[in-house]
Amino acid sequence: MTVSKTGPLTAKGDKSAIVVTVCHVEWFDLSKTYKISNAPARTADMEFIGADLNFLARVLYAESSGSAGVRDRAERMKEKSAILNVKHFRLNRVGYPNRHAAESFTAVCQAKGQFESVYNGTPKFTGSAPESFEALSKAECSDLEEAVDAIREFLNAGPNKDYLFDNFRGGSGSRGQTIGKSRFWLSPEGKELYEKHE
C-alpha cells in the first residue's frame, strides 16, 4: 500500500484529503527490453519492450480466473501459464486468424476477434489501464499482480512443453485439458504448423 500526498506536508493547517493508493503493481520497466529464456528458434531472437509485457499482463489478468473463481493460487498460476503458452504459440506465426504473423504479444492480443477482453474492452481490461489500475480493489489488484508475476516466471523459465496449446475456452465442455476454469488444446492446424517448423 502506498500513501501519497500531493503538495507539501505541513504540521498545521493542512486539511486537504490524503490520497491513498490501494493498488501498487510492479509493472515491467518501460525503458527495458526482455527476452524469453529457452525459446524456440521462432521466438529466440525476439525482444519485448516493457509496455508490450504490461499490455500482456492486463489481458492475462482479464482472461484468466481470479482468486474469487479459483481459490488455489497454484492452480491459478498454472492456468495463467497455459494462457501465456497459447499466446506464445501464436507469436511470429500465421493463421491467428489470418496471414499476418504477430511480432509482439500486443499484436497477438489485438489480432482481430481473438481475445474478448481486448476487442470488447471488458471491465477488467479497461480497469487495469495505467490511468485506472490504482483504483482496483485489494483482491483485484492481487489478481493483476499475479498476472505480472506469471509473465516474469514465463520469461525466466520459457515455454512449457506440457502446455503445447493454441486455443482455450472458458466454461465446461468435453474438449481439451482443463486447467483452472479454462480448457486448452492444440488445434489440428496448429499441430501441423508446429510439426513443420519446430
Partner: protein, 174 residues
C-alpha cells in the same frame, strides 16, 4: 405523386420480405447457388422503447449468461427491428450469443449451439447481423465442430437455417 409511388414500392418490398416463406427461400438459394444478402430479408422499423419489462430467460444457456444479457439488454436494438443481440467471449476467437426481444423481454438462444469459434486463416466477423434485416450469419465452427458460413433467418421466435457455404480461408503456407 412520385413520393406516393415510392412509398407504395417500399410497402410492397417490406410485405414481400416479410411474407416469403423461409422454406421457399431455402429452395431458391439451393438452385441459384448464391447465399442470401441482408437486403433479401428486410426488417420492420424499430419501434422499441428502452426495455422496462423483466427478461424471460428461456434456455439454460441464457440463464447461465444472465448478467451479460441483462447488461446488453439495456442497449439499443441492433437486429431485425426491435431485437438486441447480446454477445460474450468464451476463449480464443469464440462468441456466444442470445437474441433479446426488447418489446416483451423474451431471450432466445439457438438450440444445440453454445458458441461459434474461429477458423484459422479466416478473420471474418463470427456473427453478422443488422438492425434493418432478419438475416443472421454465423461464420466459423459451431461448438468447435461443424464448420461453415451459416445463414439463418429470424422468424420472430427462432433462427431458421436457410443456407450454408464454405468458410473462405487464407493459405497458411509459411
Amino acid at each position: 405523386m412520385k413520393s406516393t409511388n415510392r412509398l407504395a414500392s417500399i410497402g410492397v418490398i417490406l410485405l414481400v420480405g416479410l411474407t416469403i416463406p423461409i422454406g421457399a427461400w431455402a429452395a431458391e438459394v439451393t438452385s441459384a447457388g448464391q447465399p442470401p444478402s441482408f437486403n433479401d430479408f428486410p426488417a420492420p422499423a424499430d419501434e422499441s422503447m428502452p426495455l422496462t419489462v423483466r427478461l424471460i430467460l428461456q434456455s439454460r444457456l441464457a440463464r447461465h449468461y444472465k448478467t451479460m444479457i441483462e447488461i446488453q439488454a439495456k442497449a439499443e436494438a441492433d437486429f431485425a427491428g426491435h431485437y438486441r443481440v447480446a454477445t460474450w467471449g468464451c476463449g480464443t476467437d469464440c462468441r456466444g450469443f442470445a437474441i433479446i426481444n426488447k418489446l416483451d423481454g423474451r431471450v432466445y438462444t439457438l438450440p444445440g449451439v453454445q458458441y461459434v469459434a474461429g477458423v484459422m486463416g479466416n478473420d471474418e466477423d463470427r456473427l453478422s447481423y443488422r438492425k434493418d434485416s432478419r438475416l443472421f450469419v454465423m461464420t466459423g465452427r459451431k461448438n468447435d465442430e461443424q464448420e461453415g458460413k451459416f445463414y439463418y433467418v429470424w422468424d420472430g421466435k427462432a433462427l431458421k437455417l436457410v443456407c450454408t457455404s464454405p468458410v473462405e480461408k487464407d493459405r497458411l503456407d509459411e
